[in-house]
């Protein structure tokens, strides 16, 4: 093999490098850091990073509790939360997703697989009672579904102190919860949960406000709603600006 024992050129230079393991390691690290730095650092800049969308709000404590159930159960392995800007997707799921809608999502839940429908704008699509029944037995509302039943959410309860711990951690990573909101979380949770159980009661379903399913319904029912309103407001504002004017 002529090229097994290089005498000159880059192969010979490389041969020297192979004798210097520390330098080799440093070079490898530098080479892989370039791509990472170029792609990730600008994401933290206001101009190059994800656009902000005025009107998107953090999750309420009960909704965040529901979101924790969503992540814990691994709903994201079957459901995406990202509507692509194509006609078919907009027809099926609604307004396509903007970057700013995810501003308070820790962790993100875009998903990579659609075994079931996208849930980005499922909020308000069905009554609470539909979700209650669907989560208990998906085939009762959607014949032929392959979604597993989640009956334990109807029996299990969430823990209010636990939710407060979550809110404190989220506050530290930049979600604008005030100390007061966190302190008053138990009351806020109670109030929102009772609204849901009241609506469920109207549909003939009795359950307790401290059930996990109630928190999950709170989360599902808000998905995409604030974003949709914010997008509508943004579009209205843009339409109101006369062409050529500097905003």
């Amino acid at each position: 093999m002529s090229d097994q024992t290089p005498q000159s050129g880059y192969a010979a230079a490389h041969r020297t490098l192979e004798g210097k393991s520390a330098l080799f390691a440093v070079l490898t690290t530098v080479v892989i850091l370039i791509g990472g730095i170029v792609e990730i650092i600008p994401m933290f800049s206001a101009t190059a990073g994800p656009e902000h969308l005025a009107g998107v709000t953090p999750y309420t404590p009960l909704e965040q509790a529901g979101r924790d159930i969503y992540t814990s159960e691994g709903c994201y392995v079957c459901h995406s939360q990202m509507i692509r800007p194509t006609r078919a997707e907009v027809l099926r799921y609604g307004e396509w997703t903007r970057a700013g809608e995810y501003e308070y999502d820790h962790p993100f839940q875009l998903g990579s697989r659609r075994m079931g429908p996208d849930l980005q704008r499922v909020g308000g699509k069905y009554p609470d009672a539909w979700h209650f029944e669907h989560m208990r037995d998906p085939r009762s509302t959607s014949p032929g579904s392959v979604m597993p039943p989640y009956t334990w959410l109807h029996e299990g309860t969430y823990d209010v102190a636990d939710i407060q711990a979550s809110l404190r951690a989220l506050q530290k990573v930049g979600v604008p919860y005030t100390d007061e909101e966190i302190a008053n979380a138990p009351q806020a949770i109670q109030a929102q949960a009772q609204e849901i159980t009241a609506r469920l009661a109207q549909a003939g379903i009795t359950t307790q406000p401290d059930r996990k399913i109630v928190a999950l319904i709170a989360y599902l029912q808000r998905l995409g709603k604030d974003g949709k309103a914010a997008i509508a407001a943004q579009q209205a504002a843009q339409a109101a600006v006369p062409p050529g004017a500097t905003p």
Binding site: S21, I32, R84, P148, G174
Partner: protein, 481 residues
């Protein structure tokens, strides 16, 4: 020194008076075989759940949403991780002509890694997760991974420092990139604020979190399922076939181009999302470019076998290797294609991705691992396989299994992708009811299950073969190669 692993580096444990640590290699090999069966079994279970939902069993611990991460973690980090470490500890000592720097660190690495796997197998079914794909494990386990990784890295570089050979062979370059890059990826992506002992929230939000995660996720593929396995290829392919590596120059280009380009490709997982346009474009361009070094590596592997083709017909280990390298080529052709925005619009979110994943995972990672295991067991335990004819049966079961798996998933992916976006004459969705589309997929899911079962059966045969071989009394050692 001749530039091959095959001819110059003898396999015996007595070169120049060096006594290699063979026990650590055996330990990792046994762990790898065991976790392979577990991981594949969970794969078959979740495949059944998609075809037949009652297999979720109505229990929280056994639902698809919790078992799927168990499958991915078990096959990638338990099966994949352990086989890579098997090969690293075996080949490094020989390539560097020295025992590992510290036997103690080797053992801490082994037991620490197994403990991490067991804690993953306990926490994931309990619903304790960070809900980021391939980075699901909760923060205390993440810290344990970091510590064990550092132990491994110290031992790795310690061994390089005491080497008796001047030049680092190409396999070592690839191992090194694995050791370094996984550390960088893991630490950056796992930055999170704990709320409780089992729950935490990433410091990144929304699309930034998504970009960091897919920068990690794609490079978990790149630097966990690709570069270390290429290291294995560069050592075991020449070693097993007895042919020198086809081209030294090609391996230099292969290495540097691959590690440089891979790291940019993450955003191809976020095409058509609201991720800033510039990032999506970078991801797409670099992914398409990746085909060049990937195919360079594949050709370097296949051409190494030139002159050994007659043996491929009879030697099941070479058969496994040829199929492995071919599937590497196939999935690295498909991947760049799926990174083209127009193609991704159809493939994204569908079973096509699943087909792509498993042509790489089963075809490339699975098959090269099986080749190594069948070759290493007689070598390490110094005795012939208990069932010398089984590897050929395993080979055919696995190959047909992969074909059934990937073909059914491509068909399923195209079916759902096209039905999701089909319009009727009046310009409305032709299949507005999502479940109608889901129900078209059942035949494909059953077919995939058959393929998965065949693949699993082969792996169980391998496990039986390995365990019967190594538990036989060592009086039958004479026949060792």
């Amino acid at each position: 020194m001749q530039y091959t692993a095959g001819t110059s580096v003898a396999g015996a444990a007595r070169v120049e008076g060096v006594k290699y640590d063979e026990d650590i290699v055996k330990m990792f090999l046994i762990a790898s075989v065991t976790w392979a069966v577990v991981g594949l079994l969970v794969g078959v279970i979740i495949a059944l759940q998609l075809a037949w939902w009652p297999a979720n069993l109505g229990l929280p611990w056994t639902t698809f949403g919790r078992l799927r991460p168990l499958h991915t973690n078990a096959v990638i980090f338990a099966f994949g991780g352990n086989i890579v470490f098997t090969g690293m500890y075996h080949s490094m000592q020989r390539l560097l002509k020295t025992r590992m720097w510290s036997d103690t660190l080797s053992r801490i690495h082994f037991w620490g890694w197994q403990l991490i796997i067991v804690s993953a197998a306990v926490t994931l079914p309990l619903g304790l997760t960070q809900a980021k794909e391939y980075a699901e494990l909760i923060w205390p386990i993440d810290i344990a991974i970091t510590l064990i990784w550092v132990v491994m890295a110290v031992n790795f570089f310690g061994t390089l420092a005491i080497r008796k050979v001047e030049h680092l062979y190409v396999a070592i370059w690839f191992y090194m990139s694995f050791v370094l890059v996984i550390a960088v990826l893991h630490i950056t992506n796992s930055m999170a604020m704990p709320a409780t002992l089992t729950r935490s929230y990433p410091v990144y939000a929304g699309l930034t979190d998504a970009l960091v995660q897919w920068w990690y996720g794609h490079n978990a593929v790149g630097f966990f399922l690709t570069t270390p396995f290429l290291g294995l290829m560069y050592y075991y392919l020449p070693r097993i076939s007895g042919r020198p590596v086809f081209s030294y120059r090609l391996s230099i280009i292969h290495f540097w181009a691959l590690v440089f380009l891979y790291i940019w490709a993450g955003p191809h997982h976020l095409l058509y999302s609201a991720l800033p346009e510039w990032a999506q474009t970078l991801g797409m361009i670099f992914s398409v470019m990746l085909i060049a070094p990937s195919w360079g590596g594949m050709l370097n592997g296949l051409l190494t076998l030139r002159g050994a083709w007659d043996r491929v017909r009879t030697d099941p280990i070479l058969k496994f290797l040829v199929v492995a390298v071919s599937f590497y080529g196939m999935s690295t052709f498909e991947g760049p294609m799926m990174s083209i925005r127009a193609v991704n619009l159809l493939s994204h979110y569908t079973n096509w991705t699943i087909g792509h994943v498993h042509s790489g995972a089963l075809g490339w990672n699975g098959m090269i691992s099986f080749a190594m295991i069948y070759w290493l067991v007689p070598e390490l335990w110094k005795r012939p396989l208990a069932h010398p004819t089984w590897p050929t049966a395993h080979f055919w079961l696995a190959t047909i299994g992969i074909v059934l798996y990937t073909v059914s998933m491509w068909a399923a992916g195209l079916t759902e992708g096209l039905m999701w976006r089909a319009f009727d004459d009046s310009g409305l969705l032709k299949y507005p009811n999502f479940v109608d589309i889901v129900n078209q997929l059942h035949p494909f899911y059953w077919l995939r299950l058959v393929g998965g079962l065949m693949f699993l059966t082969g792996a169980i045969m391998m496990a039986i073969n390995v365990f019967q071989t190594i538990s036989r009394p060592s009086s039958s050692t004479a026949a060792a190669a």
